[in-house]
């Protein structure tokens, strides 16, 4: 019996129709804790160099963290990973809801999917009972119908379903994996990987209680969140994300017109923000993920627009990507767009950003009616944006097919010098926080292994949470996270040990990226983010490339990576006890070994000390 984890990885080989169980042992779990690190472990070991992300050689990993599914707020998170079909780099995304907790309650810590089924298949897990089942009747169906059909077939209204959508089936490179119809592993195109494996869904039911070493800190944390809700989680609890968008406008870094403007109008911003939604008849209620009393999830309804609460409501990222960035100021239309995205399985951030690129190109005359099939692309045209969701999902028409590859691929296909308007890092469209104004994002986007992902977590806090399965929104300080890991496992971990876990995952993801040809030259921000904003108080400032280079150089130093190439040094890998992974990234680790000691990011070395090294 273990505490905090089952030590059971479910492997599924779709080509062979086989499943098996792997145990990794206590030393592995303590070293990696799940999530990001577990994904990196399998991508390095199982995916051959230069594998086609949509080929059978890619693996798809559903990875819980050591805290996923424990009964306290924020522990309803799981990660999904694969080589990304959008970027060719390390692909990872996290989701909330109930599916990850259910998987753990079924007695599993992770699922690793290999190969490709000969026909559409779904994976059914009911505790120990694991089956591959025919999913031909589910192929081509929208997410709601798939979940309804599976729950009916299993006679279980609490069956938890993670699935790829119609967009994934059509190879849309930013297709997502949705669970519980409204929680998504949105970034890096993992839904396309799932569909390419002919795996339509993973349906899970679990009835087991995960053993923990000490339940008291877990109960105490649950109580603390409830008792301090109004002090620590007021905005999330009452409004969800997106209640403070006006502040971005006032400060001049609202995402508007493909990151050009920085400001819109206060009336338009407040027409669509979460406060307005909360006070509107469109809000049915707020809802929560597993065991979470914060309940920050919007549930929208609008009978006239056929908006159903079960598809959730728009998070800030969606309000930004399809609202402010495209200048769509019609809240009911945004609710409908959000629902369509979840029904066909498309990441709202990449969709909005790719559409913004197209609108800018259309405005500049680089993209013409001949290219779009006669569809005009104008800022603020919500009806066209809604229509585009379905065109992209099915790659219909020249425009749907063009945009389905993501912004960078679309620009390279179009040519006409349009790549300069793609706002991406490593091929992943940048999320709706502007690094020209937000220092945490400036320090995050260039070095995050997944690219332009605001939760992709190149830094300690976000990275740790993506590893242990903890929500970014919970106001837990680091000592509390340490206490929770201790309570779950019984291990006497401390903050430094958790920093080492984070650095392991980052170095392993780095090895993977370098092996796949993603190099230091990709640790940068795009041209647009070095241009001044056109409106507002930041219009007289410019982000210098040297500033980004300095951040990246400092980061290499912190992580114990080569100062020029950013390749993890052998001494660093040795000290982190992950030297074995270098064999899965031949030629990546430089001959210059470096000192065998934990990197400054783990030791907590002061900045001055780091520069002296």
């Amino acid at each position: 019996m273990t505490n905090g984890y089952w030590d059971r990885i479910l492997h599924v080989h779709l080509t062979r129709g086989e499943t098996w169980i792997e145990s990794l042992g206590e030393a592995f779990w303590r070293r990696h804790l799940g999530g990001r690190s577990l994904i990196a472990h399998y991508l390095l070991r199982e995916v051959p160099q230069n594998a086609d992300p949509l080929g059978p050689e890619n693996v798809l990993v559903f990875a819980c963290g050591i805290l996923t599914g424990l009964p306290f707020p924020g522990a309803g998170r799981h990660s999904v990973g694969a080589k990304s079909p959008l970027t060719g780099a390390f692909g990872e995304s996290e989701a909330g809801g109930f599916w990850g907790a259910e998987l753990r309650h079924a007695g599993w810590d992770a699922i690793v999917v290999h190969g490709r089924a000969s026909a559409p298949t779904y994976l059914s897990i009911a505790d120990d009972k694991v089956e591959l089942r025919d999913a031909r009747q589910l192929w081509g169906k929208e997410t709601g119908e798939v979940e309804d059909t599976l729950r009916q077939a299993h006679g279980d209204r609490l069956l938890r379903v993670a699935q790829t959508g119609i967009a994934g089936e059509h190879g849309v490179r930013f297709a997502l994996i949705v669970n519980d119809l409204n929680e998504v592993a949105g970034r890096t195109g993992l839904g396309a990987v799932m569909a390419a494996k002919n795996l339509k869904a993973v349906a899970v039911r679990g009835t087991q209680k995960l053993p923990v070493a000490d339940n008291a800190p877990i109960q105490q944390t649950s109580r603390w969140v409830i008792d301090t809700m109004e002090d620590n989680h007021y905005n999330f609890h009452h409004y969800g994300t997106g209640a403070l968008m006006l502040g971005k406008h006032l400060e001049g870094h609202l995402i508007v017109r493909n990151f050009q403007d920085g400001q819109w109008t206060p009336e338009q911003v407040t027409a669509i923000d979460a406060k307005t939604f909360a006070d509107s008849p469109y809000r049915q209620k707020m809802d929560g993920c597993y065991a979470c009393s914060v309940r920050c999830k919007k549930r929208a309804k609008d009978e006239a627009m056929a908006v159903e609460p079960r598809y959730g409501g728009p998070e800030y990222e969606t309000l930004g990507a399809t609202g402010t960035n495209l200048q769509v100021d019609n809240l009911p239309m945004l609710l409908r767009i959000n629902q369509r995205l979840n029904r066909v399985g498309i990441d709202s951030v990449s969709f909005g950003a790719t559409t913004a690129w197209a609108m800018e190109c259309y405005e500049r005359g680089l993209l013409t009616d001949a290219d779009t099939g006669g569809i005009p692309l104008h800022w603020g045209d919500g009806a066209t944006v809604l229509k585009l969701v379905d065109l992209v999902a099915r790659r219909e028409g020249p425009l749907g097919d063009l945009l389905a590859g993501g912004a960078l691929a679309a620009a390279r296909r179009l040519g006409r010098d349009s790549e300069q308007y793609v706002v991406h890092v490593k091929g992943l469209e940048v999320a709706m926080h502007d690094p020209r104004a937000m220092r945490p994002m400036l320090e995050n986007y260039p070095i995050t292994p997944t690219g332009g992902d605001h939760t992709g977590a190149g830094r300690h806090r976000t990275s740790l949470r993506n590893t242990v399965g903890l929500c970014q929104f919970l106001a837990y300080d680091e000592p509390r996270v340490v206490d929770l890991v201790r309570a779950a496992t019984g291990w006497d971990v401390d903050e430094q040990e958790l920093r080492a876990v984070v650095s392991r995952g980052l170095s392993m993801a780095r090895l993977f990226n370098l092996r796949e040809g993603i190099t230091a030259a990709d640790d940068r921000l795009p041209k647009r983010l070095h241009e001044p904003l056109l409106k507002g108080p930041l219009s007289d400032t410019r982000l210098a490339t040297e500033d980004v280079q300095a951040i990246v150089a400092d980061y290499y130093l912190e992580q114990g990576w080569h100062p020029q190439t950013g390749a993890p040094l052998a001494g660093t890998l040795q000290a982190l006890e992950i030297a074995e992974y270098a064999t899965h990234a031949a030629g990546v680790v430089p001959a210059e070994a470096g000192a065998t000691r934990l990197p400054p990011a783990v030791r907590g070395a002061a900045a001055d000390d780091r520069h002296d090294e």
Binding site: H238, G247, L250, M432, G536
Partner: protein, 84 residues
Amino acid sequence: MRIEVHLHAELARLAPEQRGVLKLDMPDGTRVADLLQRFALGNHHRIIVGINGQAAAHEQELVDGARIDLLTPMAGGAPARRHT
């Protein structure tokens, strides 16, 4: 002069019965800092203030008929406490 103050998100708790929207009569020459003091926000180092839709400094004087917006900043990816 008469102003309309919009307290956003968590700041709406300062005027719960009015759902965060207040009409106030203030003496001429009132500055942003004075208004923040009135709501006991004078020591809060990160309050964003808008006057008629544009950012305002703490020294700025209010104007008759203005709409004043008060917010805390939004964090991204790694939210600080109390932020969305």
